[in-house]
Symmetry: C2
Subunit: 353 residues, 2 copies
C-alpha cells in the first residue's frame, strides 16, 4: 500500500478561512481516505470547525499561529510580516521540511507565489513561478498557464511555461508529446506582443522532443481545445480565465431565468432536469478550482479565495493528484531531458538571432 | 425627414469578402431603409452578388478596385501596398472626403486601425485608436474598449480610453455620468500592471464630470455589468472578448448535446423551445458583432473577419446607429468639455506626482 498523501493547509487563507477550508478538507477526505492533514492557523477557529468533522479530526494535526496573510497585502508586505510565522508560510515550509507532500492555500495569489518562491526556491532553469490549471474544453481538458502568478515576462519565460505546462499535461493526460499554443490576439505570425512572437520563434527553433508547438491560439481557441497546453503571460492568462468564468456564470443566470419564464419552459425544465444538472456541473467554475504553482522545488496549490467548501475540496483533490502523479519529479525529468529549458532556450535564441 | 445614412463598405474585407458583405448589407437595408451604400472592391464579384439583391442594388454605388488588404498583412505592409488603392482605404477615404458617414470593414484589424489613423487622423488629445464594442451583461449592456486596435499603452492612453468609452456609453445608454472600471487581475489597489495603477490614480485625481471612476474590475466583473464602461489595453481587452465568446460557444455546444441525449431531455427541449431560442440569441456572439474604431476624425466600424451575412448585418447596424446618434460630435464635445482629456491627464499627473 502506498504511503499516505500528507497535505498542509493554510487554514486562514481565502475570504473566510477555516469555515471553508476545514469542511472542504472533510469533503476531500471522503474521496481520498489515504490523506492526512496539517492545518496551520488559529487553533481555536480550526478546532471549532474540526469538532463537526470527526473523520477529518482523526486524520489531522493542528499547528497554531496568530498570523495570517491578508487578501489585500502586497507580496512584499506579506513576506515581511508573514515570513516564518504566517499560516501560509508555515504550510509551504512543511513541504520544504519534508513534513508534507503538498501545500494548499486559498490566500492572496501574489503573496502565495512570492512566499513559495522564497521558501521553496525555483527549479533550476526556471526564474519565476506560474499558476497552471486544468481548463475544460470541447475536445477534453487542457492545461492553461500562467493564470496570474507572474506579471510580464520575456520570451524565455514563455518558453519555460511551455515546458512546465507540457510536463503537467503529459502527466495528467498521459500524452507523449502534448501540443502547445501561445495565447495571442491573432493566429497570423505578425500579430501580438513582441515577446510572444519571439517565443514562437524559439519554440520552433528548439523543436523540443517533449512538446509540439502548434502556433498562436486566440482567446476563443482555448474552449475549442486548440492545444493541450495554452501558454500566456500571467496578466492575460488571468484575464482570459476570469472572463470565461464570468461568461459561464452569466449564461447560467440567463438559463435560469429563461427556464422560469413561461409554464411551457418550466415543464420543459422538469423533463430535462438531468440534462440541466450535467450542464450546470460542466459550467461550474468551482469544479475547476485548484491551480498548481509550477516551477518550485515542491508542490503548492492555489484555491480561489472566494470559493465555498465544495470548491475548496476540488483544490484539495488537485493537490492530492499532483502528489499521486509524482508531478514534481516528472517536471524535473522533462526540464532535464535535453538540458534545462533555460539552457536550450538560450541556444535557440542564438540560433535564430 | 433626416437625410440618408451613407455607408461605405470594404466589400473585400473578411475571410470571404463580397459574398458575406453584400448579403449582410442587404439584410441591414431591410432594417434601415434610409441607408445608401458605397461598395468598394472587385466590381465583378460585387455585381454578381448585387444581382441577387435588387433592393440593395438600387441603393448602392460600386467603385471598382483590384487591390484588397489580406487578413495576414502587417499594418505597415497593408499601408504601403494598400494606401489610396485598396478597398479598405477607399472606404475610409470616402468618410474623409465627406462622401460617406461611416466606413465598415471586416478586414484585418491592425491594417484597419493603421489606415484609419493615417487617412482620417486622430482627434485632438487622442494619440492612438481604440476598438470599442457593446458587451451584453447581466445588468444590461456595457461598452468595453480597447478590443485590440492598439497593443500596449501608458496611463494616459488608458485615461483617453476611459473618456472616449464614457462618451460612447452616455450616447448609447443615455447616461449623464457613466461608471468606468479598469480591467485588472484583482480589485485591490496594489494589484496589476503599473500603468493601470497609475491610470487609476489619474482618474481619481481628475474626477471628471463626464464619468465616475469606480476602481478595478476583474475579468468576471465584465459579465456582471460591474461598470458601464470597462477600459483595457488592447491586448488584454481582445483576450477577454475572445475568451468570453469561446466560452459562450462552448456552453451552447454542451447545451445542444445535453438536450439531445435522452428522450426526456428531448421532450423538455420541445417544451422549452422558445426559451432556448431567446437564450441562444443572447449567447450568439455574432449579434454583438461590430466594434467602433474610436479616436478618429470619422466613424469606422470593424466587423469580425469570420462572420456570416447575419453577423455582418449587425456590424452595419452599429455603423448606422453611430451616425444616427451623432457619436463623433458627442465624443468631441466630451473631449473638449474640460479641455482635452490629454491636457487634463497631464495636469492630474502633476497633481499626483
Amino acid at each position: 500500500m502506498p504511503k499516505k498523501v500528507r497535505i498542509a493547509l493554510d487554514a486562514m487563507g481565502g475570504d473566510v478561512g477555516a469555515s471553508v477550508v476545514v469542511p472542504g478538507a472533510a469533503i476531500a477526505l471522503t474521496r481520498h481516505p489515504d490523506s492526512e492533514f496539517l492545518l496551520f492557523g488559529d487553533s481555536k477557529l480550526i478546532e471549532a470547525e474540526l469538532a463537526r468533522h470527526p473523520a477529518l479530526k482523526a486524520a489531522s494535526r493542528v499547528i497554531h499561529t496568530d498570523v495570517a496573510v491578508s487578501m489585500h497585502d502586497k507580496p512584499s508586505v506579506a513576506l515581511r510580516r508573514g515570513r516564518k510565522v504566517s499560516s501560509m508560510w508555515l504550510a509551504i515550509d512543511a513541504v520544504k521540511k519534508g513534513e508534507a507532500d503538498v501545500a494548499i492555500s486559498a490566500g492572496n495569489t501574489g503573496a502565495l507565489a512570492a512566499m513559495a518562491r522564497f521558501c521553496l526556491r525555483m527549479l533550476p532553469g526556471i526564474d519565476r513561478p506560474a499558476l497552471a490549471a486544468i481548463w475544460p474544453t470541447i475536445r477534453g481538458d487542457s492545461v492553461v498557464l500562467d493564470l496570474g502568478a507572474t506579471i510580464g515576462g520575456d520570451a524565455h519565460h514563455l518558453v519555460a511555461l511551455a515546458v512546465m505546462g507540457s510536463a503537467m499535461a503529459s502527466v495528467l493526460f498521459d500524452l507523449e508529446r502534448p501540443t502547445v499554443g501561445l495565447l495571442n490576439i491573432g493566429v497570423e505570425e505578425v500579430k501580438g506582443r513582441e515577446e510572444i512572437r519571439e517565443a514562437a520563434e524559439l519554440l520552433r527553433a528548439m523543436n523540443l522532443p517533449q512538446l509540439e508547438y502548434i502556433g498562436f491560439v486566440e482567446g476563443d481557441g482555448i474552449g475549442k481545445g486548440a492545444a493541450d497546453v495554452i501558454v500566456a503571460e500571467g496578466f492575460s492568462g488571468n484575464i482570459a480565465l476570469k472572463a470565461a468564468e464570468g461568461t459561464a456564470r452569466q449564461i447560467s443566470e440567463y438559463l435560469r431565468s429563461a427556464m422560469a419564464r413561461t409554464w411551457r419552459s418550466r415543464i420543459g425544465y422538469l423533463f430535462a432536469r438531468n440534462a440541466f444538472k450535467s450542464l450546470r456541473d460542466k459550467m461550474d467554475p468551482s469544479k475547476s478550482n485548484g491551480s498548481v504553482v509550477l516551477g518550485l522545488n515542491g508542490i503548492v496549490v492555489k484555491s480561489h479565495g472566494g470559493t465555498d467548501a465544495e470548491g475548496f475540496a476540488y483544490a484539495v483533490d488537485v493537490g492530492y493528484e499532483m502528489v499521486r502523479y509524482d508531478l514534481l519529479n516528472k517536471i524535473n525529468q522533462m526540464l532535464n531531458r535535453d538540458g534545462s529549458a533555460h539552457g536550450s532556450a538560450q541556444t535557440a535564441q542564438e540560433a535564430v538571432s
